[in-house]
């Protein structure tokens, strides 16, 4: 996969814009999911995920080919998501947290026009609750929890993406997990 991606990057650098489409295809779900878990809103997630790919394209010459491309791309997406979280006004932030309707729409569009059986509805509700609790975490904890448990990335890669030492990643995982435990224990 990395090999194919690097081949496409070389083509993009030579001016072949179309070669970038394959890169977007490969990483779109991962990047979109990362943004969605960080922002909790489908519209914003799409916006930021798109922005991440556009930035990657514009800055493709700054990417160091000796490193993993996905790490570089994740870093762009994570930084953009954190910037967006920090720019949100408090009232807007609360609004995004309480509504959560975007998430519902997105989950339910899978089964469009089909009446959801009760246990599926419960799953949707449970996932909304979990997502809302993740969104309550301060951004630095939220990022490590999402990267570790939802993207299932190794600690070293998380450390490269966030540009912080592995020890700091571990501390943040501990604290993030502890905070989530307090919020989710009664489920």
């Amino acid at each position: 996969m990395e090999m194919l991606v690097k081949k496409r990057i070389k083509q993009v650098r030579k001016g072949d814009q179309n070669a970038f489409a394959e890169i977007v295809d490969i990483y779109q779900d991962k990047i979109y999911q990362l943004c969605y878990r960080m922002l909790g809103n489908a519209h914003e997630a799409e916006d930021i995920a798109q922005e991440a790919f556009i930035r990657a394209y514009v800055n493709i010459h700054t990417y160091d080919m000796s490193k993993k491309f996905s790490t570089w791309l994740y870093r762009i997406a994570t930084n953009l998501s954190i910037d967006r979280i920090r720019k949100k006004k408090p009232d807007y932030y609360l609004d995004a947290e309480v509504s959560g309707t975007d998430g519902l729409t997105m989950y339910s569009q899978v089964a469009a026009d089909v009446v959801l059986p009760e246990d599926e509805l419960e799953t949707v509700e449970l996932q909304k609750t979990i997502q809302n609790e993740i969104l309550k975490l301060p951004d630095k904890y939220r990022a490590v929890i999402v990267l570790k448990y939802i993207d299932e990335l190794p600690l070293k890669e998380i450390s490269d993406i966030l540009d912080i030492p592995v020890g700091t990643v571990k501390t943040r995982i501990h604290r993030g997990r502890e905070a989530l435990r307090k919020q989710l224990r009664h489920l």
């Binding site: 814009q17 779900d29 999911q33 993740i134 997990r177 489920l187």
Partner: protein, 82 residues
């Protein structure tokens, strides 16, 4: 061992498989004998399972197309001028 925040720290290291064999034995022994710490550990495991259970989300349809149509045009201009 007392059920201090120090033990909670060990619990997290246990979850991340970062303990020495000796420390691990100590943690397991304590979990067997202390209901409160066992409960704490159980809640942590449950938390992780819940977070991992959030289903994988896919990007919206036409995402790639939409990115491609929003890319800046410089590169194309370069090829036109060739």
């Amino acid at each position: 061992m007392s059920c201090s925040s120090e033990f909670v720290h060990l619990l997290h290291k246990y979850m991340d498989q970062e303990l020495t064999t000796q420390e691990e034995e100590m943690v397991k022994d304590h979990l067997h004998s202390c209901q409160e710490c066992y409960q704490h550990f159980h809640e942590l495991e449950k938390t992780v399972a819940l977070v991992q259970s959030t289903s994988h989300i896919e990007a919206p349809r036409n995402f790639t197309q939409s990115v491609m149509s929003n890319l800046p045009r410089e590169k194309r201009t370069v090829s036109w001028n060739r």
